[in-house]
């Protein structure tokens, strides 16, 4: 534990332990809400909030939480944060809330969050738990935005972010990319590329 550094723990969440491409967790929201960059940012932001909140609380209470009831107690903590972000988004960002729909309440059962509570926050100090949450949250953010950008660009021919048109390419929009099939294909291709890179690096090292 002595060799843990803050920067190291943070980047571990983005690269080595990327929740989507390395741990392969939280695929349900990943597939469902990445129809546009805007939705991806909203979802990743909400998840990051819940992740940081629950990691802090679980870490702070880790000596108080009896091992036999730890899962229900984690769930209560996670539910509280999810409900907070759910109510806040409904009241203050209604269009985004409508776009994300059921997937905001469903953050409760996102394995990334309960996974980090169980595997990390329950065993580490608050400081490192926050860093871990930020790192994993950033990793989720990067993954969602990448998938969202590819799907939105190929599916609609442009990327529109908060009313601003960022990129527009002259292609015939492939509606398929916006539909669930496009999500599976995008994530499959990206994951193959990530793994190819990983194997190539490992071979070079050997």
């Amino acid at each position: 534990m002595a060799d843990m550094t803050i920067a190291g723990e943070f980047f571990r969440g983005i690269v080595k332990d990327n929740p989507v491409f390395a741990l392969v967790l939280g695929l349900c929201p990943t597939l469902a809400v990445t129809t546009s960059v805007e939705n991806a940012i909203g979802m990743a932001g909400a998840t990051l909030f819940v992740l940081v909140g629950s990691n802090v609380m679980v870490s702070a209470l880790r000596k108080q939480i009896p091992p036999i009831t730890r899962i229900p107690m984690f769930i209560i903590i996670i539910c509280t944060f999810v409900t907070i972000i759910d109510m806040a988004m409904e009241a203050y960002t209604p269009p985004l809330y409508e776009a994300l729909g059921i997937f905001i309440p469903l953050i409760v059962v996102n394995c990334i969050i309960i996974g980090r509570a169980e595997a990390y926050a329950n065993r580490n100090t608050i400081k490192f738990s926050v860093v871990d949450a930020l790192g994993i949250g950033a990793g989720f953010f990067v993954a969602l935005v990448a998938i969202g950008a590819i799907r939105e660009l190929l599916g609609t021919g442009e990327i529109v972010l908060f009313g601003l048109k960022l990129i527009s390419i002259p292609i015939e929009p492939a509606t398929f990319m916006i539909l669930p099939g496009g999500a599976f294909m995008t994530i499959g291709v990206l994951m193959a590329m990530v793994n190819y890179n990983k194997i190539r690096k490992a071979r070079k090292g050997a």
Partner: protein, 177 residues
């Protein structure tokens, strides 16, 4: 041993109570904000679906608002506005619509829907809703049926749902006139 179980229960109950108190405290301001937002949206939407109107007056049946009368600055009745729920291809489409006194459409706005993103969801876009203003009731159908509205490619059901919703709302107004 028994004491240990009691402690476990106490801790769970305590955690739940704290969570409930926090959520309860946050529920009040967020609900208030939500109400404000919804009311604002309604007023804005009425203005969008009938841009010429100066003010609106709800026509009520008991507590329920059936539709709105639109008045110009000189207090003359210039049309009707309404909110209507219509089943779409995926879920309910809530739309705001406005017509003049001769039942020619003055504007349409989609308030809420759960149509397929990229397909039916395009009913919210200007390229679709922009076709409606100026269309008389008799021309209010798809262009393939001889009407004035072009359906969204790949989303005929959603497009028709909007048109049907407008007709249904107009008939409701006529029935209450």
């Amino acid at each position: 041993m028994n004491k240990e179980y009691v402690m476990v229960m106490v801790k769970i109950v305590l955690l739940s109570v704290i969570a409930a108190v926090i959520l309860g405290a946050l529920y009040i301001p967020t609900q208030a904000q939500l109400k404000v937002y919804q009311e604002e949206q309604k007023q804005l939407s009425l203005k969008i679906v009938n841009p010429d109107a100066d003010h609106f007056e709800p026509v009520k049946s008991g507590e329920e608002t059936l539709y709105y009368l639109a008045f110009d600055a000189g207090n003359n009745l210039i049309g009707y506005c309404f909110f209507h729920d219509q089943p779409g291809s995926q879920g309910t489409i809530t739309l705001a619509g406005g017509v003049d006194t001769g039942y020619t459409v003055t504007g349409v706005k989609i308030m809420a829907h759960s149509e397929t993103p990229g397909l039916g969801a395009k009913i919210t876009e200007e390229s679709f809703t922009g076709q409606f203003p100026g269309v008389a009731e008799d021309d209010l159908m798809l262009s393939k049926d001889g009407g004035a509205i072009d359906a969204i490619t790949g989303a005929t059901v959603s497009s028709v749902a909007v048109i049907d919703g407008l007709h249904a709302a107009m008939n409701e107004i006529k029935a209450n006139e």
